[in-house]
């Protein structure tokens, strides 16, 4: 297993969590697993970042939590995205697209293209 770690920018993690929850409500473990799965193991969310982020998002009112029963018949805390969270996700996605476009342009530039 590659121990290569990608530190996520603060805010980026929020976005990923919101995105993961937009697909389906799930518990914390599920969120981490989903992000890892979608990114094909490239992005691993450390629990040390995940739970503080989940609580922060809940306090912002972007997600809400309730106790439920997991697929393995275990008590688990399920998170789901709120309307406000949807909006926030849209904003952050737009922002991210602008940012990554800009970064790509910078990285893709060559000496010739600037002259």
């Amino acid at each position: 297993m590659a121990k290569e770690k990608h530190d996520l920018l603060q805010g980026t993690l929020d976005m990923l969590i919101l995105k993961a929850l937009q697909l389906a409500p799930m518990h914390g473990f599920g969120v981490a697993a989903r992000i890892r799965q979608i990114s094909q193991d490239a992005l691993r969310v450390e629990q040390g970042s995940l739970y503080p982020a989940l609580y922060r998002l809940e306090e912002q009112g972007w997600i809400k939590a309730s106790w439920g029963i997991s697929e393995k018949n275990r008590k688990a805390r399920f998170y789901e995205i709120t309307k406000l969270g949807q909006k926030q996700l849209q904003r952050e996605t737009a922002h991210w697209e602008r940012l990554s476009l800009a970064i790509n342009q910078v990285l893709g530039s060559t000496a010739e293209s600037l002259s």
């Binding site: 518990h27 473990f29 697993a33 629990q47 739970y51 306090e59 009112g61 393995k72 008590k75």
Partner: protein, 897 residues
Amino acid sequence: VSRLSGLWLRLGRALRRRRFEREMLEELRAHLELEAEQNQERGQEPAAARRQAAIAFGHLGGYIEQVRDRRLGRWFGELMLDGRQALRFLRKSPTFTGVAIATLALCLGANATLFGILDPILLHPFPYPDPDRVVNVGMVWPKWPWGEMVQEISPLTFQEIEAQAGCFSAVGFIDASRKVDLHLGSHVQRMSVAAVTPGAWVVAGVSPTLGRVFDPQDLASGEASLAVLSDGLWRETFGSDPAVVGRTIQLDDGAYQVVGVMPSGFSLASNQPRLWIPRVFSAEERSEQGRGNAGFQAIGRLREGVSVEQARHELESLHAGYLATHPEAHEFAEATGETYGVAPLSVWVSERASGSLLLSLQVAAALVLLLGCLNIAGLLVVRGHGRLREMALRGALGASRRRIVQQLAVETATLFLCGGAVALAVAAAALRLVPAHFHLGEIMPYGRPVGLDARILWATLGVSLLTGLLTGSLPIVYATRRNLGPVLQTLSQRTTRSRSRRRTQSVFVAGQIAVSLVLLTAAIVTGRNLDALLGQGFGVTTDHRLVASVALPAYRYGSGVSGTEEHINPFKEQALERIRSLPGVVRASVSNRVPLSSDWPQKFGFGVPDHVPVPGETPAVAFAYQVSSGYFQTLGIPLLRGRDLSPTDDANAPAVAVVSAEIARQYFPDRDPLGARVQFFGRDCEIIGVVGATQNVPLSLGNAPVLYLSASQWPAFNDEAAFVMQTALPPAAMVASVTQVLTEIDPLLAVRATTLSRMQQGAVVTQSAPREIAGLFAVLAVLLTALGLYGVLAASVAQGTRDLAIRIALGAGRGSISGMVLRRGAALALAGTTVGILACWPALRFIEPLLATADGARAATPLVAAALTAVMTLLISYLPARRASRVDPAVVLRDDN
């Protein structure tokens, strides 16, 4: 909204920290197990799978810490921590805490008590919705002594205004002149009643807690025997029984049906009625005769958008309309400037309620609080100094300045909140005692109950926190201002003393001296005022004098000439005879009222046939007393000329009168009043004597001269029979036997017996209350100041012991050492008294109008108080000074090393 709900969520989590963290732990564990299961699915051994999951996950507690740290709860948690630490700290120094909390309990308690009295009287006197729109409606006689004040009204005038005025949404007529007997089986309770028209309820706009109030339909159907109970009567006499509504009660000789109960704190009419009954106008009152008796109150509720000024204009034009149809009234209207007027209820109350008296007492209480805060600030500085090292250490260990300031602020706030809590207990006790002690009923005509309520609670809490933060801020600045690094080093050695701390403390102590000087001045001024007042006397001898008063209600004793002759006078004679035969009674007489009584004064006009009035002179009015012979001697009223009334001045003899000295002086300045005549109710009375002037009503109500008439020559003016006695025994010991004599004759009588000196106390309450309270405050102020001063000097001596020892060792004389300390005390006294004297003069100007006597020496009082303060300062300084001079250098310097 979401931000708010997020805040709510966080606050909830902070408050239920334990539960939240337990849930979080549970969630993390669930995660851990899922992780382990997944590992297992990948083919690991269960134990290894679990271990690896745990390793990957890390320390559970660490996450909780991380989450906890960034919540709002962190701040809150710190606050709780600081609070707990503050409590621990306060417990650790019980002397400091005790002194501070006792100081606060007294200072804040005094403020809470006065606020508790002032608030219902001045700030919220009327328990009505929109009280600003409720006005008094009545007559105005600008050319009479009361000026523009709105006076009472007659039934007919009221009916005309009710029918014609458009500026009111409702008007009500209040007849508060009566008392009734409520029959309760074998005995009766005599109580104030207000007879009101249904409109009065609409004006008040308050719903009953039980049942209903009466309305015009009730009166139209002729069913006017209805009663609405006050909350007090319902609780005390009817045991809070809700079934009382619908029951029939007997008032005097009439049966009344109870229809409702009003809420606690509700009041309507100025005589603090226990119940309300409908007022129905008689045929006479609806005729032109109904215009004469202007002795009733009327209130109105202004329509939305109508100002007091507009209402006044409308009423003035109504009066003009009345004059246009009543030419015979022109002369009187011309002489008095008569018109109809309105005034906000609050004006009427604040004039009677001695508002400025209460306000000045509250100011004095605030000064006491200021002084107490200065005192505590001084103590905090001393303690802050002792803790510099602790603060420095905390700083060195990484506590931010904000954290240290917050901790200190929480400490002070905790201290003040504890003080505030004890103060509330003090206020609760004081509010039980004070109203009775100071006859609050006198100055609180609407009689709202005084007691601890939510407003006092919040006010005290707020003031505690505010003063706590203000008081704490200086010592906090002091404790955190300096660069704490060097402190750590220097504190490990013995310092000599701290100059800046001394300066801070000196300012506090000088401030205390200034404030206590002001309070001392107030105490001296009010004390001299009361002494002068009591010294000049009220025209009667109060020593060994007893008054026993009964009401002879008209429904049993009748009224008018027949009632007087058949029942009232025979009762008076019979009772007087028995009282005179009681052992311990030296002499006795009977009157229809007594001087100094707080009953609503009833003044009568009278004529002086040969008197030529000067322009602008007000008509002659007097209190009319109906007395039996021996009255003047019994009360010690000096007979200046002529003779006393005698039993032979009866119905068959010519009408006679004894006049008080003011009447003789004003109407007979250059001729002999004896043998001259005064006209009373159309009858000529020969003046047979002149007696000394007396104060007839409480000082706050003003005074009037007196006509003394023979009880057997006139029908009774009122239903009161007041027996006055000079006793050989202490008068209070005679109360029981006199009461027994009277109730033996008539078991249904309610006897009110009290000593004349007690009545005098009640009559001067507006003058004695400030004296007592100012005196109390001054004593408190002087004690606190002495404590503060002693603390500063003693601490400076204690901490400067090494300095002093060196000085003495180097040859300084003992005298010069104690001189140093004394000089320091003197400097503080000088600074404090200078500021204090400057503050005294505006303060004096503020209280001057409240005092009943003039005093030429008053302006010099601050100087007297300053001298007293200076003496006190030096006396206090003497103790530390002596200790300073006794320092033994051999001992001190050896111990040092």
